[in-house]
C-alpha cells in the first residue's frame, strides 16, 4: 500500500477519534455531523465529476429528494429507518435516473445547465408542497427510528453512524471506479470516441453512474434531515449544488477522499467566518474565486504532495 492510499484512512480515523479528543461537545458534534453528511454528498459528486466527467450543477436535488422523503413519510407517521432509508434512496435514484436520461444525452456546458435546470425544477416543486411546509419547510416530529429504537437521538451514536456511512460511500465509490464499470466511465471521461470504437456505448454506463451518485446523495439527504430535524427547499437550492461542487474542487478533483477534506474545510471555514462577521459571504466569495484560480489540485493535492 502506498503512503497516499493511507491518507483517506487517516482522515476517517481523525473523524473517529475527534469526539474523544476534545471535540465531543454538542456544538462540535453538530458541526462535524454536518461536515460528514455534506462530505458524503460531495464524495458522490466527486465520483461523477472526477470519475465520470459529469459536472452536475444539480446534485443538491438528490440530497433534497432524500431529505423530503424523510419529511413526507414523517408527516404520514412512518419513521422507521428500515422503511425510510430504502424509500429515500430509491426515490433519489429514480429522480436521477429520469433526469439523467435526458441530461446525459448532452455534454459539456449543456450538461451543466440542464442539471442546474432540473435541480431548480425539484426546488420549485418542493416550494409548492404546501402540505409539507411549502417555502417555510417542514419540522420533523423526531429523528428516524432504527428498528424501533431512538438510536439517532444519541449524538455520539449519530456521529459514528454518519462516519460509518461516509466511509461506506467513499469505499463504494472507490470500488466502483476501480471495477470494469468504472474503467468504462473513466475512459469515457477522457475519450468517449475511443470507448465507442472498442464497442461500448458510454450512455448506459454514465446513466447508471449518475443514478448511483443520486442514490448516495439521497442517503446523505436522509442524514441531513435527521441532523437538523428540519427540511426546507433551501436543502436543494442551486447554491447548495454550487457549494457541493466547490467542496469537490477545494478537496481536489480526481481524489475521492479529497471531497471529504473539502467538505470539512468548507463547513469549518463557513462557520468560522459567519461567527466573525455578518456579511461573511463578502469574504467567502472572493476566497472561492482565489481557490479556483490558485489552488489547482486542491487540498488533497497539497497533502499528497507533502506525504507522497
Amino acid at each position: 500500500m502506498t503512503r497516499e492510499a493511507l491518507l483517506p484512512l487517516a482522515v476517517l480515523a481523525a473523524l473517529a477519534v475527534a469526539p474523544l479528543a476534545g471535540f465531543g461537545g454538542s456544538y462540535e458534534l453538530t458541526l462535524l455531523a454536518r461536515a460528514m453528511i455534506l462530505g458524503m454528498a460531495a464524495v458522490s459528486l466527486s465520483f461523477l465529476v472526477g470519475g465520470a466527467g459529469l459536472v452536475s450543477l444539480g446534485h443538491a436535488a438528490s440530497l433534497g429528494v432524500g431529505a423530503y422523503a424523510v419529511a413526507i413519510l414523517d408527516a404520514h407517521g412512518v419513521t422507521e429507518a428500515l422503511i425510510v432509508l430504502p424509500v429515500a434512496v430509491a426515490a433519489a435514484a429514480g429522480f436521477s435516473l429520469l433526469t439523467g436520461a435526458v441530461a446525459i444525452r448532452t455534454s459539456g456546458v449543456h450538461f451543466i445547465m440542464i442539471t442546474l435546470a432540473f435541480g431548480q425544477m425539484a426546488f420549485f416543486t418542493t416550494s409548492s408542497l404546501a402540505a409539507y411546509g411549502g417555502d417555510d419547510g417542514y419540522t420533523l416530529y423526531g429523528r428516524t427510528e432504527v428498528a424501533g429504537t431512538r438510536l439517532l437521538e444519541n449524538r455520539l451514536a449519530f456521529h459514528y453512524i454518519c462516519l460509518g456511512l461516509l466511509a461506506l460511500t467513499w469505499g463504494l465509490c472507490a470500488m466502483l471506479l476501480a471495477s470494469r464499470f468504472g474503467r468504462v466511465l473513466r475512459a469515457a471521461r477522457e475519450n468517449a470516441q475511443r470507448v465507442e470504437a472498442v464497442g461500448l456505448a458510454p450512455y448506459p454506463f454514465r446513466l447508471v453512474g449518475y443514478a448511483i451518485a443520486g442514490a448516495l446523495g439521497g442517503l446523505a439527504g436522509v442524514l441531513l434531515a435527521n441532523a437538523t430535524e428540519f427540511v426546507s427547499p433551501a436543502t436543494l437550492s442551486w447554491q447548495r449544488s454550487g457549494e457541493l461542487l466547490f467542496m469537490v474542487i477545494l478537496g481536489g478533483v480526481g481524489r475521492l477522499w479529497g471531497a471529504i477534506l473539502g467538505a470539512l474545510a468548507f463547513v469549518l471555514l463557513e462557520t468560522w467566518l459567519a461567527e466573525q462577521m455578518q456579511h461573511w459571504k463578502l469574504v467567502f466569495g472572493p476566497l472561492l474565486v482565489l481557490a479556483v484560480l490558485f489552488l489547482k489540485g486542491g487540498l488533497s493535492g497539497l497533502v499528497a504532495r507533502r506525504h507522497g
Binding site: 470500488m175 464499470f181 474503467r183 473513466r186 475512459a187 477522457e190 475519450n191 465507442e196 472498442v198
Partner: protein, 250 residues
C-alpha cells in the same frame, strides 16, 4: 468465389449539392489487404465515416459478413467484428498502454456492468492485453501512461486496441499518418505480419506503403471508385494516373 467479408453497395452521400460519395461499390474479400487510395477530397474520410457508422449514407447498403449493418451504431458494428483505428490517434491518454488494450478486451469478454472486482486484477483481460501489445511490439511499454508514448508507439497501440476487440475486419484509417521514416518502416512490417492473420481495409496516403502491402487497391476519385485491381493493374491504369497527375497540376 468466396463471399466478401465487407460489401459496399452503391453508397451515396450528398452535402449541399456536392456528391461526396457518389455510388461507391466495393468488396473486401476474406484474408486480403484491400487498400483505398485517392487524391485529397476524393471522399475517403466520408467513406470511412459511412463504414463505421458516424455518417449515415443517403442511400445504398453496407453488408458485413452477410449482415446489413447500414443503420447500426459504431459500438454495435465493433461488436459485430469491425474494428477501426483513427487517422488522428485516439487513445485514453491517462490510462497505461495495458489498460487501453484491457478496455478493448473487456468489451469482448463478458459484461462491462461489473461493479465489484478491480478490473486491473482480471488476469484474462491483462493476458489478452499483453498478447496484443506483444504482437505490436509494445510489451515492454505496457505500464507507461499512453499519453507519454512516442507517436509511432501510439499508432501501434491503436492497432493493439483494435486487435483486442477480436475483429474480423481491421479498418485502418491512415495508420502511417505523421510517422517518421523509421517508424513508418516498423509499422509497415507490423501491418505485413497482421495481414497474414487478418482481413484489412487500409486507407492510406503513402503510395509506397500501399504498393508494398496491398493485395488489391481501389482508387477513389470525386466520390467514385474509378478502378479496382492488383498493384500492377493499378500502376498500369491510365485513368488512375490521370487522376493523380491532375492533382499534381493543381
Amino acid at each position: 468465389m468466396a463471399e466478401p467479408l465487407l460489401r459496399l453497395e452503391d453508397l451515396r452521400k450528398h452535402y449541399g449539392g456536392l456528391d461526396v460519395t457518389d455510388g461507391v461499390s466495393l468488396d473486401v474479400m476474406p484474408g486480403e489487404i484491400h487498400a483505398v487510395i485517392g487524391p485529397n477530397g476524393a471522399g475517403k474520410t466520408t467513406l470511412i465515416h459511412e463504414i463505421t457508422g458516424i455518417v449515415a449514407p443517403d442511400s445504398g447498403r453496407i453488408l458485413f459478413a452477410g449482415q446489413d449493418i447500414t443503420r447500426l451504431s459504431l459500438p454495435r458494428r465493433v461488436r459485430a467484428g469491425l474494428a477501426r483505428s483513427f487517422q488522428i490517434t485516439s487513445i485514453v491518454a491517462g490510462f497505461s498502454a495495458r489498460e487501453n488494450v484491457a478496455l478493448a478486451a473487456q468489451a469482448r469478454s463478458g459484461s462491462s456492468f461489473r461493479f465489484l472486482r478491480p478490473a486491473s486484477g482480471e488476469a484474462v483481460l491483462n493476458d489478452t492485453a499483453m498478447a496484443a501489445l506483444d504482437l505490436v511490439g509494445l510489451a515492454d511499454r505496457a505500464a507507461v501512461p499512453a499519453g507519454t508514448l512516442s507517436h509511432g508507439e501510439k499508432r501501434a497501440l491503436e492497432i493493439a486496441i483494435a486487435l483486442a476487440t477480436r475483429p474480423r475486419l481491421l479498418l485502418l484509417d491512415e495508420p502511417l499518418a505523421g510517422a517518421g521514416p523509421e517508424e513508418t518502416e516498423r509499422l509497415i512490417a507490423l501491418l505485413k505480419r497482421l495481414g497474414a492473420d487478418y482481413t484489412i481495409l487500409l486507407v492510406e496516403h503513402d503510395m509506397q506503403a500501399v504498393f508494398a502491402l496491398a493485395d488489391r487497391i481501389s482508387v477513389l476519385v470525386y466520390g467514385r471508385v474509378i478502378a479496382t485491381g492488383t498493384v500492377p493493374e493499378i500502376r498500369g491504369n491510365a485513368e488512375v494516373r490521370a487522376a493523380y497527375l491532375g492533382e499534381d497540376d493543381a
